[in-house]
Assembly symmetry: C2
Homo-oligomer: 224 residues x 2
């Protein structure tokens, strides 16, 4: 059957990828570059959220952003315009995720990437496949937006299992959707009891300062 | 490099899958069973939209639904409760899409599946991978919801290229999002000039009757 063949192939790729991801993470550690991998469904607000966070951190840290998409350069242009930090667009050539080697190619395309304190990877909008591939990141952040529904952690287990922290975005439209915040947090913790969860509205900026402070603590802890 | 190896493997799977999909489609044609494949991002309203469509068609046609998810049986229970038609849940075991053989397994799990006029496959919530695998369906329907943004056809080309018709859902919240309907339709037609596009609100039922009638025409045309 087709799917058995696919699974075998993925396992061998996974094993090689895990090794490559660990090598990249080790190199980044030596150079004191913190790599943050950001994942979510299409349209949950990754780019807007990142713009807000970066604007709060860019005085403190030297930041670069890698925007991954199958096509278009909409997001890299948006980040660059909104924040002024260095941004590049990674085209995946149809691929639904980034692996460690693709991430490395992106990082090494910056001149003197070791000058950056923080490199942010905005992964392909996809709640399934990016979770399967370690990019070499120090931390994984997942965004779930209110219109998507509170049941998503039940349907997409791995994404929530591999995310160190989860932002629940678009809380300004809570009144217009059948979304139970307590139930959503319960569903996230069912998949990952260790995940930190934050409520935000990227459009208005609500809650972004708390997330930015949390990321500063992550970076400083990791540098020790 | 890792990604080249992955692409080679996918191409061999694709070739085999296309053949298997055509075989399934031919069998369904002989048995006069119309298979509709429904794709979208997580949380764009597939299950609610399908409930509305099925309730308008279930007197005319004998219908069955296959709900695909990585985990949980939320959707099959919802469809069954909302419509009363036969529904099964397909667990993909972590897979991000369904291929033709997985679809066949689902169809053959119904007793006497040739008794059905219409079998609906609700694919895994994912705007990338399901578009890459022909399921054997007669038609592909894609749902894009307003909160996801009008730029999604630019970022996820293949999904819009392979969809015969696109529903723009959640138009009741247009006022709360920065979504340009004309621009969205232009982006869809940029990817696929042949795609029919419908505006709906699955929650209130707005526009569902038009889509149901459109599907009736598709089924009747195909049966001739």
């Amino acid at each position: 059957m087709n799917e058995i063949r696919i699974i075998e192939v993925k396992q061998s790729v996974f094993a090689a990828n895990d090794k490559r991801a660990n090598e990249l993470r080790q190199e980044l550690k030596e150079k004191k570059v913190f790599l943050l991998n950001v994942m979510s469904s299409p349209g949950s607000g990754k780019t807007t959220t990142l713009s807000g966070i970066i604007n709060l951190l860019k005085e403190k840290y030297k930041i670069a952003v890698m925007e991954a998409d199958i096509d278009s350069d909409v997001d890299a242009r948006t980040i660059s315009k909104n924040t002024g930090v260095d941004a590049i667009q990674l085209h995946t050539g149809g691929m639904c995720h980034l692996d460690a080697d693709m991430t490395r190619q992106g990082i090494e395309s910056f001149e003197n990437y070791s000058d950056y304190d923080l490199i942010i990877l905005e992964n392909v909008g996809n709640l399934v496949c990016p979770a399967e591939f370690d990019t070499g990141s120090v931390a994984n952040m997942c965004i779930l937006s209110v219109p998507e529904g509170d049941d998503k952690p039940l349907k997409y287990p791995l994404m929530f299992e591999v995310s160190n922290f989860v932002l629940i975005n678009k809380i300004d439209v809570l009144d217009y959707f059948d979304f139970d915040m307590d139930k959503c947090k319960e569903n996230i913790r069912y998949r990952n009891p260790m995940a930190d969860v934050f409520e935000i509205c990227a459009k208005t900026g609500q809650g972004i300062d708390t997330v930015a402070e949390y990321i500063v603590n992550k970076i400083e802890d990791w540098r020790k």
